[in-house]
């Protein structure tokens, strides 16, 4: 069976080099020690699936950072590129290259991004100036020369896709599309306005703390309702954690912004923001799953906020929905209980599509280990470690 990604190779992305995941399945479990690159693999997939979307790259670059202590966007982006080990972390002329390739039904066969640092005269656009407290200020003209970076994004698509994306095929039957933009040290980035026709796939990411970001849930809920997703689909996910939930409402009580509420049999209309972490996590996963229909859903630390006794039920629902909505799942975990729950979910669904990957520790001489669902079952029923 062909999936969105059947094979994915990271030639270079952050600290990962030459990491190849072959034989990908419907549900792909990534395990490994800290710093082995599990989250980085999710980021690389997210970038590859939206290769010409500057905002997607910026979002990926910023996802690890806490909003209150973010690096300048220029630096956040720079860290997506393999570092050279230079002692000058502020090297204004840093150059980097990211490269990923894939096989599967994805329109994107190869993604290449380059970062070219420079010092130059920043375009004068006072309205875009950022200060530390977020209030726009008028810059000192003497400071117009500053660090910048030119980011070039390119993706290779198949010939039959080249007409859609206005790309010219080469003799090998592939065609390249690209996008370029500049970032400046102290200037907020504005995405270029253009038609949304770049080669990409529906992609959604659930970070370990995504369930606490309420505005995200409101916008996702609205989009899903517009896209025709039934409330009952989301309700089924929420009821796995709390069977007393009867429905959802989007309410604007303050006249400033809307919030997502649940209709609860005992507590009545209750804002999602005050619900338990487990329930909010289940809702966040469900919202993102539907947002990733016919694409990929990336879940970092899938066990986050879910009690071990609820993992099996949630994963059973998740794998069933992933099949139903043609979503390819990539999930990371540190938890053996989560591994076991996924193995069990696979058998409950009678679906041989679970695949596991143990990522090697950096510079350890270890190599990627791929486990079929049967291998994972064999190992875990033998009481052996897979992480």
């Amino acid at each position: 069976m062909a999936f969105h990604l059947d094979r994915f190779k990271i030639h270079a992305f952050r600290q990962l080099k030459g990491l190849e995941l072959k034989g990908l399945g419907r549900v792909n479990l990534l395990v490994g020690a800290n710093n082995s690159g599990k989250t980085t693999v999710l980021e690389a997939i997210a970038a590859h699936c939206q290769p010409l979307e500057p905002m997607a790259w910026l979002e990926i670059a910023r996802r690890r950072e806490i909003k209150s202590s973010r690096e300048p966007i220029l630096d956040s982006i720079k860290w997506l590129f393999p570092q050279t080990g230079s002692s000058d972390v502020d090297d204004p002329y840093f150059q980097g290259r990211v490269q990923m390739e894939a096989e599967g039904t994805t329109p994107n066969l190869e993604t290449i991004a380059t970062y070219e640092g420079f010092i130059g005269e920043r375009p004068d656009d006072e309205a875009d100036w950022e200060s530390e407290n977020g209030v726009a200020t008028t810059p000192d003209p003497s400071s117009y020369r500053e660090r910048g970076a030119r980011i070039h994004l390119s993706t290779t698509v198949r010939t039959f896709d080249s007409l859609i994306y206005m790309a010219t095929p080469d003799p090998e039957g592939k065609a390249t599309c690209d996008e370029e933009f500049e970032l400046w040290e102290s200037r907020a980035f504005k995405a270029p306005m253009r038609e949304d026709s770049t080669p990409k796939s529906p992609t959604a990411t659930v970070s370990p703390f995504a369930h606490r970001v309420e505005p995200l849930q409101v916008s996702q809920w609205s989009k899903l309702r517009h896209a025709g997703i039934a409330e009952s689909d989301l309700l089924n996910a929420a009821r796995l954690i709390d069977p007393e939930i009867e429905g959802f409402e989007l309410l604007d009580r303050t006249g400033i912004r809307s919030s997502l509420f649940v209709k609860h049999r005992i507590t009545g209309l209750t804002p999602v923001s005050v619900l338990g972490d487990g329930l909010r996590r289940a809702i966040a996963i469900a919202l993102n799953l539907f947002a990733a229909r016919d694409g990929v859903l990336l879940i970092d630390e899938i066990e986050s906020a879910i009690h071990k006794d609820g993992l099996g039920t949630l994963f059973g629902w998740l794998t069933k929905m992933a099949q139903q909505h043609n979503v390819q799942l990539f999930v990371t975990t540190h938890s053996l209980e989560a591994v076991d729950a996924l193995v069990e979910a696979r058998f409950r669904q009678d679906d041989g599509l679970l695949t596991g990957f143990r990522l090697p520790k950096t510079n350890s001489g270890e190599i990627v280990a791929r486990y079929s669902g049967s291998s994972l079952d064999e190992l875990r029923h033998g009481g052996l470690e897979v992480r």
Binding site: G23, E366, I367, A369, S375, E385
Partner: protein, 272 residues
Amino acid sequence: MANTFIAVEGPQDVELIAAVLKPRGFKKKVHEDDLPERFGKRLIRKDYPIDGDLHARVPNPMFMTDGSNWVAIQSAGGATLELITLVSRVLNALKSFPGALDAIGIVRDTDELSAPEQFAHLRTELSSRLNREPEEFANYELQLPMSVNENIIDGKPNFGIYMLPDNEHEGTLENLVLECGECIYPQLVNRSRDFVDDVRELAELNSKDKSQVKKPFGKEKAIIAAAVSILKPGMSLAVSLDQNRWFSEESLNLPSMKKLIQFLRNLCQLES
């Protein structure tokens, strides 16, 4: 320096292999901290209770080292299917670590078919499992030995299969133990045999009892059990094999034991 894993059918087979390794300077290691990170520690079960049974033993390998080489010997708790499952599990458990496993072996009784047939059947089933999915064991360069006469093959890891009792004749571990027993405890074994012959046909044994008495290799097992009950009253054969003199210098020189020793020396890449 080599790391070898050997899958055997039962706990008494574990002691047989251990008995061969002991004279070569191998000692058992029973503390987790003593085990190599990328070999022993990845092969230890961490789950309890096993299948919910509070009294079931946690089936871990026996680890032995001579200070340089490591050998892990594990009972599969059964024959072909269980041995193959164990081998597959170990290969999966170590596939992140290139060079962690230098050799893997299977030691099986020849109790259902002739040695060549039993070997061929095991090889076919093993091949089928190891090729279950194309990428499953792609981290190794695995080959399977061709026949009882070419029972170790080079690869990464090397692979060996040995058919008890002597890689040639039909039989089990008990045949080998009896042979060693006749060498070390001739009178005890002979009298145990007389006793077993005497009681196997007792009239008081009903058909259900007799079905057990007449199980394949039941007589050999009974003779050894009778001897063990004298040497180590109330203890299992595995304990007796470990603590009595079944495998001592004289019996290790028997031709059938020499064949097994040669197989293990080659598989484990030992100098002596």
